[in-house]
């Protein structure tokens, strides 16, 4: 006898065998990467006092792209002093209108050089060119453009109060959206009248250094933006420097806690944008195909190196089999490989260290009894790669459900009632984002107000905009970036 299940099986489409794509590589001929990069301090590139350099490699080829200076304590001190001088000499005296014009310049020049930035971002970080081209770079430009306009309108931002800049902002950014995170940090800081010492992550320094060239070309007063490279020790020197008036950090919750602790007793204000473990909740009445796209975008966007990734999928029981079947079919169409290929959906894992972390979690999940499903796709022979992965048969207490994996690994759980899924979704120390899929508006608002997180996407996921505040509840951090709320961390209200 033929059952419904057999019919379903027969009707499942075969996406893998007949569908092939010719390579469509984005050219990198027009991009120049120097052999060696120094520190951008006081408006020019200077050799590090530390005398040391480290290599930045392409995670898709494992080949070295450039040597980059490692800023030591003395270098950090020089950068902070340059920022202080720039604050006292130029920036705090300048009108908001003129500050704004400089920031507009940065926005426009990024747009002009968008292709170059996109290619370098993909080479240095491993993300697909489609994403760096269509998301990272345009959003970075938009962020500068948005905050440029605030610079001469700050008197209207906070009713009853005027704003005063904090002074020198020390900013530390992660490797998952290097140019975009630099924009999230630099744009509001400059608009509100602060000067900046920014440190990009050690695995992805190149677009920040290219940005330094651009800022120099834009003729910003020397020292208003200083960009110094290095690893954790450099970051720690920025955090602990007494001349820094405000700290803004984006990165892991673990490091965020260390920063918060080391700032205790200093009176230095700080904002933290940390990890997440977002619940992506699909109700029975959701449009399934649309939800599948959202799930894929939620967890596989940028190889899952996204703090707000929809890494915990909750499916209402009645549709679980159908949805997971569709999800697997869709996953088989994903193209994993060369980040510079315009067909690529999923690029390289950012570093060997992160590759080890992700593989370690997959192993942990299996040891804890999870069932695994991975795409059948081939992986390139060199570089760091992880196949898009589903872990099913997991529960709240599993480490893969509780901890941030920061890779293309999705855990799947089922639920019966809204109350149950709210309980499960909130049962995490994180609170950065969440997703809801349903056809019913009232249900969206009911669930979205119960989810304890700073961003909720309804029938969409991983959308960003400069006007839209972003940031976490609970252990996902404090403070908002983007929008009017994003001004507040950089000002004192008087």
């Amino acid at each position: 006898m033929i059952t419904d299940k057999d019919i379903q099986k027969k009707q499942r489409l075969d996406f893998t065998s007949a569908w092939t794509y010719d390579p469509a590589p984005e050219s990198s001929d027009h991009v120049t990467i120097s052999d060696k990069y120094d520190l951008f301090i006081g408006g020019k590139f200077v050799e590090p006092v530390s005398g040391t350099y480290f290599a930045t490699v392409s995670p898709s080829t494992e080949k070295k792209l450039a040597d980059v200076a490692e800023a030591g304590e003395k270098d950090v001190d020089n950068a902070v002093k340059a920022a202080r001088t720039a604050y006292d000499t130029y920036w705090k005296k300048m009108s908001g209108r003129d500050r704004g014009k400089y920031i507009y310049r940065i926005a426009r020049m990024i747009q002009e050089r968008a292709r170059e930035f996109a290619v370098i971002e993909s080479m240095d970080g491993g993300k697909p060119i489609r994403e760096s081209r269509d998301v990272d770079v345009p959003l970075a430009a938009a962020h500068y453009f948005y905050y440029a306009g605030w610079a001469d309108k700050l008197d209207y931002a906070f009713p009853g109060r005027k704003t005063q800049p904090r002074g020198v902002a020390g900013q530390i950014i992660p490797w998952n959206f290097p140019l975009l995170m630099a924009a999230w940090k630099i744009a509001p800081a400059l608009a509100t009248g602060n000067t900046v010492v920014l440190k990009p992550a050690e695995t992805t320094p190149l677009t920040s250094l290219k940005l330094a060239e651009l800022i120099r070309d834009a003729d910003l007063p020397p020292g208003v933006v200083n960009i110094i490279t290095g690893a954790g020790q450099t970051g720690s020197a920025i955090v602990n420097h007494p001349g820094v008036d405000k700290i803004a950090f984006t990165g892991s919750t673990q490091v965020g806690k260390l920063i918060q602790k080391s700032l205790a007793g200093t009176g230095k204000p700080y904002t933290l944008e940390l990890g997440g473990k977002a619940a992506n909740i699909v109700f029975e009445d959701a449009a399934l195909d649309q939800a599948v796209e959202g799930i894929v975008n939620g967890i596989f966007f940028n190889q899952g190196h996204v703090c707000c990734a929809g890494s915990r999928l909750f499916v209402q029981e009645g549709i679980a089999d159908a949805l997971i079947g569709k999800l697997k079919d869709r996953m088989e169409t994903l193209i994993v490989g060369d980040p510079l290929d315009k067909n690529t959906d999923i690029g390289a894992i950012n570093s060997r260290a992160q590759l080890d972390t992700i593989n370690g979690y997959i192993e942990t999940g299996l040891n804890e009894g999870a069932d695994i499903y991975q795409c059948k796709c081939d992986l390139p022979s060199s570089g760091y790669w992880v196949k898009p992965t589903l872990l099913t048969g997991v529960s709240q207490s599993h480490r893969v459900v509780q901890e941030e994996i920061f890779g293309p690994v999705l855990t799947i759980q089922t639920f019966r009632t809204p109350a149950e899924v709210i309980e499960k979704a909130n049962n995490t120390p994180y609170g950065l984002s969440g997703g809801i899929w349903t056809d019913k508006g009232a249900k969206i608002f009911k669930i979205s107000t119960k989810i304890r997180s700073g961003v909720v996407w309804a029938n969409t996921f991983n959308k960003f905009d400069p006007t839209s505040p972003f940031g976490g509840y609970k252990e996902s951090g404090m403070g908002r970036e983007g929008g009017l709320h994003g001004l507040l961390p950089y000002v004192e209200l008087i």
Binding site: G265, G454, D465, P469, G471, G477
Partner: protein
Amino acid sequence: MADRIDVQKTYKIYIGGEFVRTESGRYYPVTEPKSGKLIANLCLSSRKDFRNAVVAARKAQPGWAGRSAYNRSQILYRIAEMMEGRRDQFVAELKRSGYSAAKASKEIDTSIDRMVYFAGWCDKYQQIYSTVNPVAGSYFNFSVPEPTGVISVVAPEDQPLAGLVSVVAPVIAGGNTCVVLCSEKSPLTAVTFSEVLHSSDVPGGVINLLTGQETELVEHFSSHMDVNAVIYARSHKDNLKRIQENASLNVKRVVVRNEKDWTDAKHENPYTILDTLEIKTTWHPIGV
């Protein structure tokens, strides 16, 4: 000898809407500053008392936040009404704690007026802090404030009533619940304030009031993993540093409000409410 032997009050702590003694069985004497005469034996609250209070505060939080803003506003206003009715009692207690009549009057007047002030904000701050965000895409995108959650509060040591009201009113106006350490040497008005709360329709657990020692309790106020933020309104630098270090255990927000004069009108502003709010942004597609 007096005509009548007066009935003295037992000053208890207030947890989950109930007047309880500390589970530790410990006490400390509070005396009249001039005569040295014993006023009462106050509870020397323990870590366990604090933990019980956090459980009560957590339990009460969703319900309190879920009430309509209009309802919360009326309840805060009701607190002010009840304080007005007990005005003489507050003045008498402040005088026993060494306040002059004029200072005591100013303290209670400020406290009542400040409660009315924040009552009025309960259904308005949302409109100040919300935004509709013009994103470049087909989405209706908006940001609204939500309460941070459970807040532990180390209330001011001086100006024991005006200080307490100034730090607690914004917290509950914003839909949070709290556990408060009251003034150690002048705790009388704080305990009487808990009786006001009890008769003001404030749900049990929304405000929990403990008496005791700062140096003993700040450790627990700042390290408890189910507390979302700490407000520190005193001036002890070592204790503040300890709070800020412990806060990193679960990324608590730390709000420092070390002020000289709590009767100053500058404490009346909505930005103190913002200190214990989180901004939530929701993306909703537009389409058919």
